[in-house]
């Protein structure tokens, strides 16, 4: 964990500031979409969030405002706090101090969970139920009126409809990950939280995932995705935030260009490797 700080702390203050000035002009194609379905877009704001697990401080001084429609790439080495941040955004845990608030019109505090989709390290699927049964269950729990139809459609979209009736236990890793992503997208979330979603995806799955992300971006869905810097999906990102040791090390900002930060981190990872 301490090793990851080296790449980021080596940049001198002057070059960092110069970079920020040069990036002042927002690029047209990386503007976060504000158009999005009116009234349905949601953003998320972390205010002075700290999270402790006993004595271990997983996150500290996290103040981050993510506006609706942004596609934020969350970067950092293992253990930097990305998963904790995402789980907190998914309302799975509360911060020790500080607050996490969902912004935007529409969702009240109880319904808000119905607008959030989360792909985590685990698949969140019942191994002893079929793919169709899993999706049907979650469609019902999310209050979708045409649960079976939605489940079937989701299965077709991710290419698993031929295995709809098979138990998830029999699926390969790539298929499970595809189903896990389909589960997260089932209720058309307006805030999508992704924790290394491409892990384990096969080629077909990656293609589907990539096109799905593009579609969601165009629709104005707010996306917060954690992944390693080498991932291609990051080309779609409008913003990059780098975590290290539980703190926000770098943030390319709402109107900045994440490409520089991403390129820098990619080369830093290359150096370390």
């Amino acid at each position: 964990m301490p090793g990851s700080e080296s790449a980021l702390t080596q940049r001198s203050a002057i070059s960092f500031v110069a970079e920020q000035i040069a990036l002042g002009e927002p690029r047209a194609n990386s503007q976060p979409s504000e158009r999005g379905p009116a009234g349905n877009s949601i953003g998320i704001t972390f205010e002075n969030v700290e999270k402790r697990f006993g004595l271990l401080v997983a996150l500290r001084n996290i103040s981050l405002e993510i506006r609706s429609g942004e596609f934020v790439a969350l970067l950092g080495a293992n253990g930097a706090g990305k998963t904790t941040l995402l789980r907190m955004a998914a309302q799975l845990m509360k911060p020790t101090t500080g607050s996490v608030a969902l912004t935007g019109t529409g969702p009240k505090s109880e319904d808000a969970r119905g607008f959030i989709g989360f792909v985590g390290h685990s698949t969140f699927l019942y191994d002893e139920m079929s793919a169709e049964e899993n999706l049907h269950l979650f469609a019902q729990l999310y209050g979708l009126s045409d649960a079976s139809a939605r489940a079937a459609a989701a299965l077709t979209a991710c290419g698993l409809s031929s295995r709809a009736g098979s138990l998830v236990r029999t699926f390969s890793r790539g298929m499970r990950q595809r189903l896990a992503i389909a589960r997260a997208l089932l209720h058309e979330p307006r805030l999508l939280l992704l924790d290394e979603p491409a892990a384990g995806l096969d080629r077909q799955g990656l293609a589907w995932f990539g096109s799905t992300l593009e579609r969601l971006r165009a629709e104005g869905c707010t996306i917060l995705m954690s992944t390693h810097a080498r991932n291609e999906s990051l080309d779609l990102a409008t913003r990059a935030v780098a975590l290290a040791g539980g703190r926000i090390e770098r943030d390319s900002g709402i109107s900045g260009d994440p490409a520089e930060l991403l390129a820098e981190l990619r080369s830093a990872q290359g150096r370390e490797a």
């Binding site: 789980r87 309302q91 799975l92 985590g120 685990s122 969140f124 049964e133 019902q140 729990l141 209050g143």
Partner: protein
Amino acid sequence: MTTSRAAAILLAKELRLEFRTRELLTTTVIFALVVVVLFSFAFEPTAAESRRYGPGLLWIAFLFAGSLMLNPSFAREQSNETLDALRMAPIAPFAILLGKMLANFVFLAVAEAILVPVFAVLYNVSFSGVAGRLILVLGLGTLGLVITGTVFSAISAHARMRELLLPLLLLPILTPLLIASVEATASLLAEQPELDRTWVAFLAGFDIVFLTASWLMCDYLLEE
């Protein structure tokens, strides 16, 4: 979505999962049968003796079988973190707990439906004429068992030695339930069978107290 609707959906899921494999149900029934047979060596199963010791033995069999059966309830949700998936859904946390309580109740009820006739045959005890009232007593007693047991299975799912821990936590708490259920069942088997209202009221009170406590504390039980 209302809590009861969400609980019903989750109940359906639990039932579907269990009736597909039926492992839990079969093991519970077999284990309770073993207990019932073992007890036959403890006393002479004449009609009079059976009426005296029978209710106690029956309820002890249910308690033991139940406390073994309740463990997988939450433990099963730990693979693939499906419990977190349920917590993320826009349903009240109590719906998750309630769904499991109802599922456990159904499983135990099915086991009892098999065991009580077997017991009646093995120990020459007649339940004719009191069947309806017996079902009431069995229902209230099982409900108490299932309410507290589900809560403690949520606790023990995170602990080491959970198979041992759950009965350890559950059985002392259930002593009042055991007394009440046994006494109520015994009065139904007496020479003049009658429904002992005091004990039935006590059982109902027990169930209400612990259901309310579970409802009030369910957030603490399910949080990360």
